[in-house]
């Protein structure tokens, strides 16, 4: 156990990365082998992520399983430092689960299968890296590693859709996603350099996040400078989290992306943004965060309502889910912005729960699209008759997304609202937070409207004859969807194993405020 503890974090990045490199040398002509190999790698990372999550000692708190590998000495002070805390541990687990699900679902990829898994595993490695690294330079490195494969994954394996009045090609989706995320990362990089230089002025010339965090907590960073730096992180990472009005890459990306890429995109990639705001923005520039939170809570509220209202009049299933993701990420941003222990913990739990829920949605939409070759919810109908399991799971995912108790989303959203309703105790923007919490609840009701309308017109009722050939989910799809449903229910009924881990680190995080 001692040896595994030492190596676990290093291995969880190394395994998918090495898997990605090894897969390059596999034969191009045997796609099944590539799939089996990717499953093996994903299984190893899933096991490691479970191990890390379970191993995290919530009574002790702080960063655990830490390792540091020296790289560049002073004055740059860049080291590969690793460590998980209660905020990243659930997200590591989330990535392990989604990666496994994504790899399994990619069974249907027939074109250049090997290359697909090479990129998918590299993407997974990048995401793991961001979640566990404790150094700004490597955080940025892994962030880019997670973002870049996305371009090829969508551009090569995606699908183009003609919506009548407008066209969304896979190249357009890929290009837009890439440009957006790179633009965001430019802001982040400027922010990181500014932080490095400012800390250097104070005599702490380092990229090490632990040292920078200590510096900020000891009041070593000028609050005015922090106020200039935080918006760079807020918008830079916010782009990835689907922050309004920088969200349009997300629905368009989903429409173009293949199923397993959509799963990773909404399931974990968008979480990187919110995680970055917490880990870099709030932890390293707390004074800036405090200054900008009213803006973030406002934008988060806009996200919730705007996404939900947009989703209401979408026809394409992926657009519906894409805009619903924008709406649900709004709860994450809102929760973060409350700066209240319950609200922030709710935001972290919402990241986990939304990741699973959206991945489930995309598995099901992918299953429908693979068979019907269409995603228009106005043309599809009566799916319950033909695809019972898929429709049943879709109904469950829908109920989870509208915040039905018994599913994890309810606990998370409820905590976000609770935090919003009491955040004035810490902050003093009473009307703003109350309004945000109130509108958030309204947003959940709007979610009910579009989800139920979708269920009624697409899934229930009699099916046209043209859908008579549709078959129900394959065993792999059933397994993945079933596992996701199970997770949603278990976390919804018994959230304590997650919350006790999240609570302790959120409390530490908020000590700076």
């Amino acid at each position: 156990m001692q040896a595994l503890d030492q190596a676990a974090l290093f291995l969880i990045v190394l395994a998918p990365l090495a898997g990605s490199l090894l897969a390059m040398f596999m034969s191009r002509d045997r796609p099944k082998d590539a799939w089996y190999f990717a499953i093996l790698v994903a299984a190893v990372t899933l096991a490691l992520s479970i191990y890390i999550f379970v191993r995290y000692d919530y009574t002790a708190g702080g960063y655990q399983l830490s390792r540091s590998f020296g790289w560049l000495g002073a004055p740059l002070d860049i080291n590969l430092s690793l460590g998980v805390d209660g905020i990243s541990a659930p997200l590591v687990l989330l990535n392990g689960i989604i990666l496994m699900g994504g790899v399994l679902i990619a069974q249907t990829i027939k074109h250049r299968t090997r290359d697909f898994f090479v990129l998918l595993l590299a993407l997974g490695a990048g995401v793991f890296g961001v979640f566990i690294v404790r150094d700004l330079f490597f955080l940025f490195f892994f962030y880019e590693l997670a973002v870049l494969p996305m371009y090829l994954l969508i551009g090569v394996w995606g699908s183009s859709t003609d919506f009548g009045t407008f066209l969304r090609t896979k190249e357009y989706g890929a290009m837009k996603l890439m440009l957006y995320l790179v633009a965001g990362s430019v802001l982040i990089w400027i922010g990181i350099l500014a932080l490095y230089l400012e800390a250097g002025q104070q005599g702490v010339s380092t990229f090490d996040m632990a040292k920078l965090s200590d510096l900020a907590r000891d009041g070593g960073l000028d609050p005015t400078v922090q106020r200039w730096i935080f918006p760079l992180f807020m918008i830079g990472f916010g782009v990835l989290a689907g922050l309004w009005p920088f969200h349009t890459w997300s629905p368009d990306g989903h429409v173009a992306a293949p199923t397993s890429v959509s799963m990773l995109h909404a399931g974990v990639l968008m979480k990187l943004g919110a995680y970055g705001i917490i880990r870099v923005g709030m932890d390293l520039t707390p004074a800036g965060a405090e200054f900008w939170m009213p803006v973030l809570i406002g934008l988060g509220t806009v996200n919730v309502l705007y996404g939900a209202i947009s989703a209401m009049s979408q026809g394409d299933l992926k657009y519906v889910i894409g805009y619903s993701s924008v709406s649900h990420m709004g709860y994450v941003l809102m929760g973060i912005a409350t700066l209240h222990p319950i609200g922030v913990a709710g935001a972290v739990l919402q990241m986990f729960s939304h990741g699973i829920m959206t991945a489930l949605f995309f598995v099901l939409v992918g299953a429908i699209y693979d068979r019907a070759h269409i995603r228009d919810s106005h043309i599809l109908n009566g799916l319950f008759k033909r695809m019972g399991v898929v429709s049943f799971c879709f109904a469950i995912a829908g109920l989870a997304s509208l915040g039905l108790p018994g599913f994890s989303g309810f606990i998370a959203e409820f905590m976000v609202f609770t935090g919003a309703f009491q955040s004035d105790v810490r902050l003093g923007f009473v009307p703003m937070a109350l309004l945000a919490g109130g509108l958030g609840v309204v947003g959940a009701a709007i979610t009910a409207v579009y989800i139920l309308r979708l269920l009624a017109r697409t899934f229930f009722g009699e099916a046209d004859r043209q859908w008579a050939h549709l078959t129900d989910a394959s065993p792999v799809e059933k397994g993945v969807a079933g596992a996701f449903v199970l997770i949603l229910v278990v976390v919804g009924v018994w959230p304590e194993p997650f919350l006790r881990v999240i609570n302790v680190s959120v409390a530490t995080l908020l000590e700076a405020f």
């Binding site: 209240h340 009701a445 304590e496």
Partner: protein, 641 residues
């Protein structure tokens, strides 16, 4: 008494078992669901006896200062929001409160659920999704029982939403029928709108109290330390939730449509239990409502408006189940009115009596539907001969709710009227009496037309009408006994039992008080209404044609349900969807095409313009490079010089 936690849990366990293995279980899983709820009913008696034996000295029990009754509380940890020990954290628990209110609801819910589930054995026989039906029933029972036992607002909300979801699933049980699908959707969305209010009210209370525990909130209100504004605001918001669930105006539109579900479901969920949850919520949070005062007035007004409106619509409706649905809405309105008047005991007594009677009526209606496959009362008549038992029991229920003396509904309605006359402005009692009269009228209409009136020609030839089979008849008989005799528990019987008012009360035990003038007046009204109905619909010696002709416009307004549905439809189509389409278009045209594609296109145009200088000849690049190097050299030379 602590075993009461098993009551919901048993049904809850039954749910997944029936979903996954229902097909392999004997009887499609139905015996499991019925067994779970039957065990729940038995455990209810255990809890009741335990509670009656308890004193304030018993462990877990104490006299609740806010309500003045004995309450026993049991808790298990659930989860912590925020790090335990920090000031901003809150520990949430699976907790149950056993007090008279909870016990009364518990008894009614377990009993009616048990009866309805047994009845469904006959009613749903041969349905392809028989197992799923029972699974939903089990889940509903679990959620509803959690709702009445919950000791914290959070848990109440959890159960509240779950019963809504079960109602959604069961209304849409025959989802192939577009009407059922639409009704299910409508029911969920409309109640969900009310639930926005409920959740906001709960959150507002949490902000004030710092805990989700009901006892803590009531304590704060009782001691007068709660801000008056917050009490009013949160109780009004919670009232919104109650109005959604209990189908009070203007959220009533979903309940009549919900009749698209199987009839036993209507009996259980949309008559006896779930729709009463709103009334239960107001009764449960009574200390806060009362502390606010204004909120209580709002409850009374909402109740009165709803009761009047729904009873007029019930008079014009021609669908048997919809008549009953509007009657439910109207009676729920009366309960709200009674709560608003401070008649706590009366409201809950009426809730129980109405629950039994209305469940009976629905089961009777189900029996009619089952054998005639007909829902429109214009195509029915004279069924008394073909189905005597159903006719007898249905009439019993109808007369009970119509307020014919010594039946349950008479006593409970009388208590309500008495409370209203004591607690509120005289206008309320006048209008309440009008409602009582209307209620007797529509009950008489339904009962006489369906069972006693002349049978319409050319009906029932293709399938012989038969009376209810045993599985359906037995529960009806039992409910019939309750509908007839339940009123007897309201008296101060000689001996130890002091009537329901000595058990279920707010602050002070209430004896049975009978306001003579009201009792006599309402008896006269009810008897007159039934006599009138007999003359019009059975003897045909009175004709309403003249009345219909002279009030045609007014009647049309009522027949069209005051155009509330149309108004909602207009708002949804013309406001909500238009706005949504606008936002979606805005997102694509402005946010995406202008703000996102715009800069991208500008960059491309710039590139198109600038590419012209690129000739592709290597020597032109070399020349520029040489000139550049020379320029740098000169610049450097200048600086040195």
């Amino acid at each position: 008494m602590e075993l009461a936690w098993l009551i919901p849990v048993l049904s809850f366990i039954a749910f997944p078992i029936i979903v996954f293995w229902g097909k392999r279980l004997p009887g499609g899983g139905a015996p499991l669901a019925i067994g779970a709820i039957a065990a729940g009913f038995a455990l209810f008696w255990v809890a009741l006896l335990g509670f009656l034996a308890a004193t304030p000295d018993t462990e877990h029990c104490l006299t609740d200062a806010a309500t003045g009754t004995l309450a026993c509380n049991f808790q298990r940890a659930w989860f912590n929001a925020g790090l335990p020990g920090l000031p901003d954290s809150v520990a949430l628990s699976w907790g149950m409160t056993i007090d008279p209110l909870a016990l009364a609801m518990l008894g009614m819910v377990t009993l009616v659920a048990l009866m309805v589930q047994i009845y469904s054995l006959g009613y749903m026989k041969g349905d392809p999704h028989f197992g799923w039906y029972y699974a939903c029933h089990a889940l509903f029972a679990a959620a509803m029982l959690t709702l009445v036992l919950a000791d914290s607002f959070l848990l109440l909300y959890v159960a509240w939403e779950l019963v809504g979801a079960c109602s959604y699933l069961l209304i849409g049980f025959w989802h192939e029928r577009p009407a059922a699908r639409e009704a299910a959707k409508k029911a969920f969305i409309v109640t969900r709108l009310g639930d926005v209010g409920l959740l906001l009210g709960i959150l507002l209370l949490w902000r004030e109290v710092g805990s989700f525990s009901m006892t803590a909130a009531f304590e704060l209100a009782h001691s007068g330390e709660m801000s008056h504004g917050v009490a009013t605001a949160s109780s009004l918001l919670m009232l919104l939730g109650a109005m959604g669930k209990s189908a009070q105006f203007p959220f009533h539109v979903w309940l009549p449509d919900a009749m698209e579900g199987p009839t036993p479901v209507s009996a259980l969920i949309h008559a006896a239990t779930m729709v009463a949850a709103g009334v239960y919520l107001v009764a449960r949070a009574f200390p806060i409502f009362q502390y606010s005062g204004d909120a209580l007035m709002a409850v009374a007004i909402v109740g009165l408006v709803t009761a009047l409106m729904a009873s007029t619509i019930a008079l014009t409706s021609t669908d048997l189940k919809r008549i009953l649905a509007y009657s439910t809405i109207s009676h729920l309105g009366l309960m709200m009115l009674s709560l608003g008047a401070g008649g706590y005991t009366a409201a809950l007594f009426h809730l129980l009596a109405h629950g039994f009677s209305k469940a009976l009526l629905f089961l009777g209606a189900g029996s009619v539907l089952h054998s005639t496959e007909q829902q429109d009362i214009r195509h029915m008549g004279g069924l008394r001969k073909a189905m005597p038992l159903t006719a007898l029991l249905f009439s019993l229920g109808a007369m009970s709710l119509g307020g014919i003396p010594i039946l349950a509904g008479f006593w409970s309605k009388d208590e309500v009227l008495s409370a209203v006359s004591h607690g509120l402005h005289p206008v309320f009692i006048v209008l309440a009496l009008v409602t009582a009269l209307l209620s007797a009228l529509y009950m008489a209409r339904a009962m006489f037309v369906v069972f006693f009136g002349p049978s319409p020609e050319s009906e029932h030839h293709d399938h012989p009408v038969h009376d209810a089979p045993l599985a359906m008849a037995a529960p009806m008989v039992l409910l019939g006994v309750l509908a007839a005799g339940f009123g007897l528990i309201s008296f101060n019987w000689p001996g130890s039992f002091g009537g329901i008012g000595s058990f279920l009360f707010y602050h002070e035990p209430e004896g049975f008080h009978f306001t003579w003038w009201l009792g006599i007046l309402s008896t006269i009204l009810a008897v007159a209404a039934f006599a009138f109905g007999y003359l019009v619909y059975v003897r045909k010696s009175l004709s309403l044609e003249g009345f219909r002709r002279s009030f045609a416009p007014a009647i049309r307004v009522v027949e069209r349900k005051y155009y509330v549905d149309e108004l909602y439809q207009w708002v949804v189509d013309r406001v909500v969807m238009v706005f949504s389409r606008f936002i979606a278009l805005f997102d694509r045209a402005v946010v995406n095409d202008v703000l996102v594609n715009g800069p991208a296109n500008s960059a491309r145009r710039l590139g198109v313009a600038m590419r012209l200088h690129v000739t592709g000849h290597v020597y032109s690049y070399a020349l520029v490079m040489a000139l550049g190097a020379a320029a740098l050299a000169i610049l450097w030379w200048w600086r040195v010089a």
